[in-house]
């Protein structure tokens, strides 16, 4: 939104009354939400619940990026889509679903692949970025782009019965590269198509990503910056890990960064940025 919203309409006061009466949110927090823009990269298992709850909370603008279209096998976890919207781009399906819940949110669908050419220009238009992607190459790309565009990155991931959550590049916490300077060998990486995932696991992590976004936007403190949440759904355990601070030696967020432009992340990781590529090439 270009012109900041400075007062809440009566309709907004009625609609958000249950969270307005929280002293930690209040009118100030609700206005911060109304003036905030959040880019959700990936409208899949993580992106769906994150988008739903950020739309519900009254986020001013939601960017919804996904290169893919809705398939029936997505619906066991991607709950913002519907049977009727199978074959529709996930970005527009998600935007449609969010607007049904809250028509006052400006939802912008991006039916495209994030890459080194388009990432920076796009990210600069948003305040907060959610990593709801499903592959290593895009995770490195998004990390580096968030450093360069100075945006906090709320990162979630899920596989089988497990989920992980953290916040990168926020309040002197580390970035993805501070933790993982070298990409994993491609043969050690398992995606949800191959490894499977119980649908509600990304549901839980995506909700937690929405909560972290609200906390960043409303300056509520105690985010998962420099902390990592490990959730094991099979054992029913949550563990919070204290992480290293930002690393001065980090090649992208360190004191003397050597990576100052986006690179070729598929080459860097030795893996594709999507697992749909070969089927698209067949068409």
């Amino acid at each position: 939104p270009d012109i900041p919203c400075e007062t809440l309409s009566n309709a907004s006061i009625a609609r958000y009354s249950r969270q307005l009466i929280l002293p930690e949110v209040g009118v100030k927090g609700q206005l911060a939400l109304a003036n905030a823009s959040v880019l959700i990269v990936g409208a899949g298992g993580l992106g769906c619940p994150a988008a739903l709850y950020l739309a519900a909370a009254g986020t001013g603008c939601l960017g919804l990026l996904d290169y893919d279209t809705v398939e029936l096998s997505n619906l066991h976890r991607q709950v913002l889509h519907t049977e009727q919207r199978v074959s529709v781009p996930k970005s527009s399906s998600a935007a449609f679903g969010c607007n049904q819940l809250n028509s006052t949110v400006r939802c912008i669908p991006y039916h495209m692949q994030l890459d080194s050419q388009n990432a920076l220009q796009l990210l600069r238009q948003y305040d907060v970025v959610l990593d709801c992607t499903d592959n290593v190459a895009t995770r490195y790309l998004l990390n580096d782009a968030c450093i360069m565009a100075k945006k906090p990155l709320i990162s979630g991931s899920a596989l089988r019965f497990e989920g992980q959550l953290t916040v990168y590049n926020y309040q002197d916490g580390p970035c993805y590269r501070c933790l993982y300077p070298t990409p994993p060998p491609p043969e050690t990486v398992t995606n949800c198509s191959d490894g499977g995932v119980l649908g509600v696991i990304p549901g839980i992590i995506g909700c937690l990503q929405a909560l972290e976004a609200v906390k960043v936007i409303c300056s509520l403190g105690n985010t998962y910056s420099q902390r990592l949440l490990l959730f094991d759904g099979l054992e029913g355990t949550f563990r919070t890990i204290k992480l290293r601070p930002r690393q001065q030696s980090c090649v992208v967020c360190g004191d003397n960064p050597s990576v100052t432009k986006l690179i070729d992340y598929e080459q860097f990781c030795g893996s594709r940025a999507n697992d749909k590529e070969h089927s698209l090439e067949l068409l």
């Binding site: 899949g44 497990e162 050690t188 490990l230 919070t240 890990i241 992480l243 290293r244």
Partner: protein
């Protein structure tokens, strides 16, 4: 004297250890000096790893994409490979997840 520590594998790393996530292990006394994470990695490779050690270790450290935790803290805060193990320490090896 033996050193008893607990080892945990998660995020898929447990698949290299017969899908067993929690291991209580007794490490034999070392003649020359204390047990460090560096020694532990060698011991795991020789005693616990069932197959394909290259998916767990690379050179003398863990392979990229595995995070090591020492008593719920990132090992980077604790001295990494040189951390000296104490009795009842809990060492966790997490494979990073990338799915969504």
């Amino acid at each position: 004297m033996e050193l008893v520590v607990s080892l945990e594998f998660s995020g898929g790393a447990e698949l290299l250890f017969d899908k067993v996530k929690n291991h209580e292990v007794s490490l034999p006394a070392r003649a020359n000096g204390p047990w460090t994470i560096k020694h532990l990695l060698v011991w795991i490779k020789d005693n616990l790893l069932k197959e394909r050690p290259e998916l767990f270790v690379q050179g003398d450290t863990v392979r990229p994409g595995i995070l090591v935790l020492i008593n719920d803290a990132d090992w980077e805060l604790m001295g990494e490979l040189n951390y000296e193990l104490k009795s009842k320490d809990r060492i966790v090896f997490i494979s990073t997840l990338h799915g969504g």
